[in-house]
């Protein structure tokens, strides 16, 4: 770790003031991603602004029937909060599929959104990486790329976004509330994370001088027909190769509303509204599920070591939609996939 200054933020306005005053400063919340990256010298902030004591730790109902989650609510508290466990179980399930009990106790809601890729080259400062050092090249595109993206890639970066929680937030159409020098604004979840394009060093559309203050969930929670299915190299405590958040509203066997988002396959949580539209009005069965998978994976492109993800994703989507339609969500403790 390099030498850095440390300061606590007194309130949100002070946090914004402090970050605006020092372009090389960074916020720190749970620290589980930032400290790791600082030890690798991938992140080299001049100053850490400690936001962990700001009073952004509430989970409360909004007037519109939704729920607002403060940016500092720990991942574990969020997963077990009654409003989330009962009304948005897909979010609780996705959170509990990620990291470990200790890390979930530390990790914050805002920090989870802003965690960086686990691309091995991004972590290794001896190798070229456009995300870490723009213009140096991408070591993964012709290197070892088993964990990398199959959708929305560019030749400059094929990294994935590693979060589980964010996949459920994408399916739920969450909104991200942020504050900056110019006041507050709201970013739709689909617009929060970016595709790499030719600017892979930018993961999100959050400006450097903005702070995430909260996440808002709309009223619709899909508490009856949902699942979060995560496929990985070991049964726990590993990042997703492919994960699927599937949520349905059914009228008998007919699909009224569908949500489908994938993790581990792209630079952002990958929600596909066309695949969702292909399900609406259809009978909930293998045929319609397979067609949705086909629509979602239409433009998928594999690299030397990750082509298996295309087939894996196809099967995971079909299985997840079956689990959701049957009201039998994937258990995150018994690992049997039914």
């Amino acid at each position: 770790m390099i030498n850095f200054q440390y300061a606590r933020a007194a309130d949100v306005a002070d946090a914004v003031r402090q970050i605006a005053a020092d372009p090389k400063a960074k916020f720190i919340a749970g620290g589980t991603n930032l400290i790791d990256l600082m030890k690798e010298e991938v992140e080299r902030p001049s100053r850490l602004i400690d936001i962990s004591r700001l009073p952004l730790d509430n989970v409360e109902e909004t007037s519109g029937g939704g729920v607002r989650i403060g940016a500092l609510v720990p991942n574990s508290d969020l997963a077990h909060h009654p409003l989330i466990a009962q009304r948005y179980p897909i979010l609780a399930s996705a959170i509990l599929a990620g990291a470990s009990a200790q890390l979930r106790n530390m990790a914050s809601t805002g920090g989870n959104l802003l965690q960086r890729t686990r691309c091995y080259y991004f972590y290794d400062i001896a190798t070229p990486c456009n995300k870490r050092e723009p213009g140096t090249g991408c070591s993964a595109v012709n290197g070892v790329n088993r964990m990398h993206a199959i959708l929305g890639t560019s030749e400059t970066c094929i990294a994935t976004h590693p979060s589980d929680m964010c996949v459920a937030l994408a399916a739920l159409e969450a909104k991200v509330l942020v504050a900056g020098p110019g006041g507050q604004r709201t970013i739709a979840f689909a617009d929060f994370h970016r595709l790499p394009g030719d600017t892979p060093h930018r993961d999100t559309n959050l400006e450097a001088n903005e702070i995430v203050t909260a996440i808002e969930l709309p009223a619709r929670g899909f508490a009856k027909n949902y699942t979060y299915l995560k496929i990985r190299d070991r049964l726990s405590y590993a990042f997703a190769l492919v994960s699927v958040a599937a949520a349905l509203e059914l009228d008998g066997q007919a699909i009224k509303e569908a949500r489908l988002a994938l993790g581990g396959v792209a630079h952002k949580p990958w929600r596909d509204v066309n695949a969702e539209a292909s399900l609406r009005g259809q009978a909930a069965n293998r045929d319609s599920f397979a067609r949705a998978a086909e629509a979602l994976l239409h433009g998928a492109k594999g690299y030397a070591h990750n082509t298996f993800k295309i087939d894996l994703a196809r099967r995971a989507i079909v299985r997840a939609l079956a689990q959701a339609s049957q009201g039998t969500p994937q258990s995150q403790s018994s690992k049997k996939i039914r």
């Binding site: 077990h80 470990s100 070229p128």
Partner: protein, 171 residues
């Protein structure tokens, strides 16, 4: 591909910050330390307080050997800056035994031979203490899942689960 530069943008030297005064209650004892901001809680415990029961395995949040309880919650101390925990209550493996009696988890780990080399054990036991306090694990599957943040290279997992089950059965 262009060769990587050894470091990103040759940084302007950042002035070395003054040490920061940090107050902690560690295993029931109030301590006050002057620490550089980058000192992790793990290093503060081991190197400044000589509490070497807490182990450094990976130093990157991946193994759980450094698990301690902060204000009753299990966390990994290697990814925790000590300055950020100013005012907190920290419990390490050295603080679990009471009045000369081993903590029930310590006794159960002995009863079930739940270790071989013992390097992961302090983290396993502190993590299990956190798990019991959370009260969410009922089945063996749930114990395994909620203990997955603690890696045991010797593979003592079945006996670790048995030890935790013994304590759950008695409480």
């Amino acid at each position: 591909m262009a060769p990587a530069k050894p470091h990103q943008s040759a940084a302007v030297a950042i002035p070395v910050p003054d040490k920061i005064s940090v107050s902690l209650n560690v295993n029931g004892v109030d301590v006050q330390l002057d620490l550089a901001p980058w000192t992790t809680l793990l290093d503060a415990l081991r190197d400044r307080l000589n509490l070497t029961g807490t182990k450094k395995g990976c130093d990157h949040g991946q193994c759980g050997a450094c698990t301690v309880l902060v204000d009753g919650r299990r966390i990994v101390s290697c990814l925790t800056l000590a300055v950020m925990k100013d005012g907190s209550k920290v419990t390490t493996i050295e603080g679990l035994a009471k009045d000369g009696m081993l903590h029930p988890l310590q006794q159960a780990f002995i009863d079930h031979d739940a270790f071989q080399c013992g390097y992961c054990t302090p983290g396993q036991i502190c993590s299990a203490a956190g798990l019991l306090a959370e009260g969410r694990a009922k089945t063996a599957d749930e114990i395994r899942e909620l203990m997955s943040g603690n890696i045991c290279r010797c593979g003592a997992y079945p006996n670790i689960v048995a030890a935790i089950q013994q304590v759950m059965g008695h409480s």
